[in-house]
């Protein structure tokens, strides 16, 4: 294993019109590490994630995956790099025209790593990893509850044995118990597939549970990062305010976006 971080972001900026969302993000995610980016709404967490995934192109800066620059990469190379990504979307983003099993094995089928005949069995295997039994495989996503959809989303994200898994607010919209179940599953499956994790959340309970390291994003910059144990004595008043959920402090909530 080398010292090359799995993901290396340097000076990444992105603006939409006049609104600067990322203002020079620097972040390293080491191999096998689980990093959680915390921050309020509209601080650029999603944009950071989407920039790494290649869903958005940053204006300036560099993003390296395994030491390889991905910005400005051709689409064939880009596709090769994204083969090692798995992503759990905030709302699950399951394809509602396809049954659960086809959702789970979608990536494998697209990469022709299995045949349609095998896909059903593989999907059931992956569903078992997230604690779901074989009955759900033939249901449509709309027949599932929010928590179940998240689990299927997780099964889909790990289906192609990714090296990096991204989690976009994995616990948002779930009740506290289901949120904890999802957190446990995230910890379990990332360990089982041996993946590097990068999550964004504003749920501190979730962040404490799944993170090795926490980074705080504020006004388009990483203003603090450190091991999860240090989060309660970060010595940073922005972090203090955020993790304690106080309205008063240096962070002023913008009422207008």
């Amino acid at each position: 294993m080398s010292d090359t971080p799995k993901i290396e972001m340097r000076g990444v900026t992105k603006a939409f019109g006049k609104k600067v969302v990322l203002n020079g993000v620097d972040l390293d995610v080491g191999v096998g590490e689980s990093v959680v980016i915390i921050g309020g709404s509209g601080t650029g967490k999603s944009v950071t994630l989407k920039s790494i995934l290649g869903l958005l192109t940053p204006d300036t800066g560099s993003i390296k995956v395994d030491g390889e620059e991905v910005i400005g990469m051709g689409s064939a190379d880009r596709e090769r790099v994204s083969h090692q990504f798995g992503m759990l979307f905030q709302g699950g983003a399951l394809f509602d025209s396809l049954p659960v099993w086809e959702n789970v094995s979608f990536g494998l089928l697209a990469e022709k790593r299995c045949t349609r005949a095998d896909a059903h069995g593989i999907a059931i295997e992956k569903l078992a990893m997230v604690g779901m039994n074989a009955d759900v495989a033939d249901l449509m996503p709309s027949e599932l509850s929010g928590g179940m959809q998240k689990r299927v989303g997780l099964a889909r994200a790990i289906a192609s044995d990714p090296e990096i898994i991204f989690f976009d607010e994995p616990t948002t919209g779930l009740d506290p118990i289901m949120a904890d179940v999802i957190n446990d599953l995230i910890v379990k499956v990332t360990r089982e597939v041996g993946a590097t994790g990068l999550s964004i959340t504003h749920d501190m309970a979730s962040a404490r549970k799944i993170a090795n390291r926490i980074a705080m994003l504020y006004e388009g910059k990483i203003i603090w990062q450190g091991p999860v144990e240090d989060i309660d004595h970060s010595g940073n008043e922005y972090v203090e305010q955020f993790i304690n959920g106080k309205a008063e402090g240096p962070i002023q909530m913008a009422v207008r976006a």
Binding site: L53, S82, M87, A93
Partner: protein, 257 residues
């Protein structure tokens, strides 16, 4: 304020939209001829666009043919030219009303449903999910719908032509007292290859326009439910207007020397 400013803004907005549409169109067309292909999805779209539009198109055509026979009888009887009804019906249906009415009806049916479906996939991040699962959304979503639109529309219009002529026959024979065999013979004598051909060329172009507008507006929709609603409206309105514009252009290409 400088009075030229709003003019400039409108011109730039127009050029911007045209440019975006052309890029979308080029990319969509490119993906229809480059592998991987999705025959299963093409087939499903063909059934949806072609087969399930039959009732709407058939009803439109039969009433168009009927009213055409009735109206031309009212007009022509003043000059004692009732004999020309068969000619008028068959020419109007194959050249104009078949493709245009079918096009407009299907623009409402298919354009709206394409825009709503793809728009919902956009706002629920399903399109992003496709990308992370090694699937190009232009190839998976847009190309099959373009293929289905271009191929199924001419077939639909062919059916509409037949049903429309039949509608005219019904009224002429059963209400206006024409001789059935005589009416059909006149219909057949009058019809030339280029009448039907021009109608089918129109149909292919209209099918392309409807699919393209539905996909384009859906693909670029943003801002939740309201955005999807706007995309749907824009898809139907722009497809209808483009159908009428291109109808004139194609007619001029075919029938003026």
């Amino acid at each position: 304020m400088n009075p030229l400013q709003p003019i400039g803004r409108v011109v730039f907005a127009f050029l911007g939209t045209t440019g975006r549409l052309m890029t979308f169109l080029a990319s969509g067309l490119m993906h229809t001829v480059r592998p991987p292909f999705y025959p299963r999805i093409v087939l499903r779209q063909m059934v949806d666009i072609g087969f399930f539009s039959l009732p709407v198109v058939g009803l439109t055509a039969v009433f168009a043919g009927m009213v055409l026979a009735l109206q031309s009888h009212t007009g022509f009887s003043r000059f004692g030219a009732e004999g020309a009804i068969a000619n008028v019906v068959v020419l109007s249906i194959t050249r104009e009303l078949g493709p245009v009415l079918a096009g407009l009806m299907v623009a409402g049916r298919i354009g709206a449903s394409l825009a709503a479906e793809i728009g919902t996939m956009r706002v629920t991040e399903q399109i992003d999910a496709l990308t992370t699962l090694s699937t190009n959304p232009m190839k998976y979503l847009v190309a099959p719908r373009l293929i289905a639109g271009i191929t199924m529309f001419p077939l639909l219009v062919l059916v509409a032509d037949i049903i429309g002529v039949f509608g005219g026959y019904l009224v002429a024979v059963h209400k206006l007292g024409f001789n059935g065999a005589n009416y059909l013979q006149k219909t057949w004598e009058m019809l030339t290859y280029s009448d039907v051909e021009s109608g089918l060329v129109k149909a292919a172009v209209f099918g392309f326009i409807v699919s393209l507008m539905g996909c384009y507006h859906g693909y670029n929709s943003k801002g939740g439910a309201q955005g999807v609603g706007r995309a749907t409206t824009n898809a139907v309105v722009s497809a209808s207007i483009l159908i009428l514009c291109s109808d004139y252009i194609i007619t001029e290409m075919f029938f003026t020397k």
